[in-house]
């Protein structure tokens, strides 16, 4: 049962991710202090900010790896971890959340490929077991995705036999194998050797060009300037500034943004 609450919350149906006043605490420490973000369908949002600014936590809230304490967080017009009924949010069972998560791909800083499976097995495991695809169909799709990330010849390799950049490209292909509506990237190039960053970014650029909706937490300002439709600067659990990446990088409004950009550029 697919429901959406675009009308109820007066959100445009073209919005893929809607966050308003999202708050999240660990005990007495509030890490998200009312985050407002809107990511339209087919657009790329890059989130930058110093470590501890809450950008990764926010990303993990989107697919309910972390629960939020208050606020509204919708993906494609629906809650990920809850069902709205009679003005109450009912927590979903793990299996129900999984069905919603299957539509939200995620790529991690440390790749998190399954080391006991070959590259191909990494790609087809979830499509077969979660989406119920036939093995042959899943295999065909996986090989096509591997070709797209330039790793067709690595299908039978194990993750540990690949370089960091190759592993991350496989991780992206694995996320794509689920045919997600949106892809979340949690610092996808931070664990890579400098000379391997480029190959991963170029795959991400291709995805953006093909119209994939993406939210990217990153330190790659150059990538953000070139690819992002909106740049979001987070600091201390709030969005300090957001807007067009070129304008914001050239002419930051908030002093914190200016300070941060001066350090990383």
């Amino acid at each position: 049962m697919k429901t959406n609450h675009f009308e109820r919350f007066a959100i445009s149906p073209s919005v893929m991710i809607h966050a308003s006043d999202v708050r999240k605490s660990y005990g007495s420490l509030e890490v998200l202090k009312g985050v407002n973000i809107s990511v339209p369908n087919g657009s790329v949002a890059c989130i930058i900010g110093p470590s501890g600014s809450g950008k990764s936590t926010f990303l993990r809230c989107i697919n309910h790896l972390e629960e939020i304490n208050s606020g509204l967080l919708l993906v494609d017009g629906d809650f990920v971890g809850y069902r709205l009924k009679d003005d109450k949010l009912h927590e979903l069972r793990a299996s129900q959340i999984c069905a919603r998560r299957a539509e939200i791909g995620m790529v991690f800083q440390h790749f998190n490929l399954f080391p006991h499976m070959t590259v191909l097995e990494n790609l087809i495991e979830a499509p077969i077991k979660v989406r119920g695809e036939h093995r042959a169909e899943a295999r065909l799709h996986a090989l096509e995705l591997l070709r797209r990330v330039g790793l067709a010849e690595k299908a039978t390799a194990f993750p540990r036999q690949l370089s960091g950049g190759q592993q991350q490209r496989v991780a992206i292909a694995r996320a794509l194998a689920m045919r997600p509506k949106v892809l979340l990237f949690d610092e996808p190039t931070s664990a890579l050797d400098p000379e391997l960053v480029g190959e991963v970014l170029s795959v991400m650029k291709d995805l953006a060009r093909d119209g994939m909706t993406m939210v990217v937490v990153t330190h790659e300002i150059g990538f953000a300037r070139e690819v992002a439709d909106q740049l979001i600067f987070m600091d201390g659990g709030t969005v300090m500034e957001q807007g067009d990446p070129r304008e914001m990088i050239a002419n930051p409004q908030s002093p914190r943004t200016r300070e941060f950009l001066a350090k990383v550029l």
Binding site: R101, H116, R174
Partner: protein, 314 residues
């Protein structure tokens, strides 16, 4: 003065003219000689001592009573290990649960069954009828559904299986919990993000990786358990040791029959060790070719070597 030329290939050419004189290890040779002499003396004592009665040992090796006992020992080990693994898995999952009502009883289970000697538990379970006279199923509204005297249920064999399964489950729970915890949290998150349910995630992602950590200590536990089953001879279960005892109680050929039992225990343990090696290799197939364990003749050959082979390119 002769200065080394700068060009690389000519350096290599010069290097190739030298013969490398290996370092001698005279003390290593001396120690090895002493050990060899001691081994020979031991062998001579074992072969020539008439009290060991080797012909009697040989005559009992394939004795039907001994073989039946061997079968009971192996069967007990497998059945107990099966139950211990299942119970251990449940207890390990309870330990990892966020609910204290699950994790604390599980911790209590481990504390109790690991903290008491196997022999004590064995005798306790065997004497269960002294605590509970009858085993009764009573349901509200229906009354007593059935009731049996404890003594008819708690035969020596059942007591042995129950006592040792629970005892072993305490150890297995800790081994499995360690294995599950050894799998990186990122693996679980990646699987969740692909929409995998907790049960699927456990079965396909976590357990296969945990197995690598679980198998080696489980192999040791199985080998230990095989030997621990000899305790059941106390409550008259006809295992390998009990069978040997039953014969020598009659014939007074105590030492030869204990040697027969020893022989079979060693045979089974050796087979288990080989099997464990295969299992370990199966669960680390992504590392195939990186850490080849020497087996068979190459292992024998390496015993006779005085130094490690110089591996890699020269």
């Amino acid at each position: 003065m002769n200065v080394l030329p700068l060009k690389d290939d000519s350096v290599a050419a010069k290097r190739a003219q030298f013969t490398v004189v290996p370092l001698r290890h005279p003390w290593r040779w001396a120690a090895a000689a002493i050990v060899a002499i001691l081994l020979l003396l031991l062998l001579q004592a074992v072969v020539s001592n008439p009290n060991l009665q080797w012909p009697v040992v040989a005559s009992y090796i394939l004795n039907p009573i001994i073989l039946r006992g061997l079968w009971v020992t192996v069967g007990l080990t497998l059945v107990i290990m099966f139950f211990a693994s299942v119970i251990g898995m449940i207890v390990a999952l309870m330990m990892l649960s966020p609910s204290k009502m699950l994790s604390l009883p599980a911790a209590g289970f481990i504390w109790w069954f690991r903290g008491t000697p196997a022999l004590v538990q064995l005798i306790l379970w065997y004497n269960l009828s002294l605590i509970f006279k009858d085993i009764t199923l009573w349901l509200p509204g229906l009354g007593t559904v059935f009731s049996v005297p404890t003594n008819t249920v708690m035969t020596p064999l059942v007591a042995a299986v129950v006592a040792l399964s629970l005892h072993e489950a305490g150890y297995m729970a800790e081994i499995i919990r360690n294995g599950l915890k050894s799998v990186n949290r990122g693996q679980t998150e990646a699987a969740l993000c692909l929409g995998m349910k907790p049960s699927l995630l456990l079965r396909r992602i976590v357990i296969p990786q945990a197995m690598r950590v679980i198998i080696p200590p489980t192999g040791n536990e199985t080998i230990n358990l095989l030997k621990t089953t000899s305790l059941v001879s106390i409550i008259a279960v006809g295992d390998l040791l009990y069978s040997a005892q039953a014969i020598y109680a009659r014939t007074f050929e105590t030492i030869p029959l204990l040697l027969v039992a020893t022989f079979w225990y060693l045979v089974v343990v050796s087979i288990m060790t080989v099997g464990q090696g295969y299992l370990e290799r199966h669960y680390s197939r992504d590392e195939a070719g990186h850490d080849p364990a020497p087996g068979g003749f190459s292992r024998l050959g390496s015993i006779l070597m005085m130094r490690e082979k110089w591996r890699g390119a020269q």
